[in-house]
């Protein structure tokens, strides 16, 4: 599957606040397509992660496995993405990401993003703005949850409820 700039713009409108097809064309040149069958691990917890993965089709799942326990953190649907932390500053992945359906991803590496920031700063800045808004939203909710638990005098050391798992990746 090869996307045209117009299709990229339609599939990921939030990445292009300008709404210009020209910007999608610029980004498209830096994206590498990656096809994975269902059941493959895209990123393992603890791996060095350096790219943003835009999900064009298929489905991903993020999970956390430790001491034989597996917690499912969430699903990623087409039109969404994972790896924005790694794109901005490469680091260790906090959770595992697997394909649960045959998937097509568009990969933007940190290095390619650095080149975009130099050569097309307006396009990079528009993308970055959207990524930052989603990060802030996540930071506020997960931080409030961590602090609420730490600050409550009766700290409950129980297994998490389902909503605790949202927003890790």
């Amino acid at each position: 599957m090869t996307l045209s700039p117009a299709q990229l713009l339609r599939r990921f409108p939030r990445l292009f606040p300008s709404g210009q097809e020209e910007d999608a064309k610029t980004l498209l040149r830096l994206l590498n397509p990656l096809r994975l069958p269902a059941g493959e691990v895209l990123i393992e917890r603890g791996d060095l992660s350096t790219s943003l993965y835009l999900l064009a089709s298929g489905e991903l799942e993020t999970d956390l496995t430790e001491s034989g326990q597996r917690l499912i953190l969430g699903q990623v649907k087409p039109g969404s993405w994972v790896g924005e932390l790694a794109l901005i500053s490469p680091g260790t992945a906090a959770a595992r990401i697997r394909t649960v359906k045959d998937s097509t991803l568009l990969v933007l590496s940190h290095d390619a993003f650095s080149a975009l920031r130099l050569e097309h700063p307006r396009v990079a800045s528009g993308m970055l703005h959207t990524l930052m808004l989603t990060l802030v939203e996540r930071l506020r909710s997960s931080n409030a949850r961590v602090i609420r638990r730490l600050d409550s005098t009766t700290l409950q050391l129980t297994r998490p409820e389902a909503d605790d798992a949202q927003g890790i990746l």
């Binding site: 932390l85 906090a94 800045s125 990060l135 931080n143 890790i168």
Partner: protein
């Protein structure tokens, strides 16, 4: 110490040209504030970022019972209120002058204007905020995961050691009195 000097010494700004630094400087307002001035009030929507030029500012959080805990002491070169430039969400701590301080502020509106007048400086500033945001999200993720996996409270705290002041947990901090005494 001047704003330009403080900005020039901040590692995040080292890639800015002298010209761009001056653009950032021009967008900021430098003022002397009296002891006890509250820059940011917990729970209220924020609009500005602050950079300490001289003096000390403390970050505190109020517990439900009215007790106030010290989260951090900040000095020259420290930034606070970063997220106000991204969204208009509520502040998660209060920041108060300890003694007379010189602080530069950058309201969101002026930051947005910077994109037109000094685009390169604005992009650098934006990326600096993005990286700080990533550090905070990673620390919070790690703390959340430790809580989910039943780590001890000390280990959860350890994960949040270097998070931005606004996102530090109160517990473990130094209690500095009740609500009334800090108003």
């Amino acid at each position: 110490m001047s704003l330009l000097h403080t900005l020039g010494n901040a590692p995040d700004f080292k890639n800015l040209s002298a010209n761009e630094l001056e653009g950032v400087e021009a967008a900021m307002t430098v003022r002397v504030y009296r002891d006890g001035h509250v820059f940011i009030r917990e729970g209220e929507p924020g609009d500005s970022l602050f950079l300490i030029i001289e003096g000390e500012v403390i970050a505190t959080r109020k517990a439900k019972d009215g007790s106030v805990t010290l989260l951090a002491r900040m000095a020259s070169g420290d930034l606070f209120g970063l997220l106000a430039l991204i969204d208009e969400g509520p502040r998660s701590a209060s920041c108060t002058a300890m003694g007379e301080v010189i602080v530069a502020s950058l309201p969101r509106r002026r930051f947005e204007q910077l994109y037109n007048s000094q685009a390169a400086a604005a992009y650098t500033f934006q990326y600096m905020i993005a990286r700080q945001l990533v550090r905070d999200v990673r620390a919070t993720n790690e703390a959340l995961i430790r809580q989910m996996l039943d780590y001890t409270e000390v280990e959860v705290h350890a994960a949040l050691q270097n998070v931005s002041v606004e996102f530090r947990p109160s517990r473990g901090g130094e209690e500095i009195g009740d609500d009334e005494s800090t108003q």
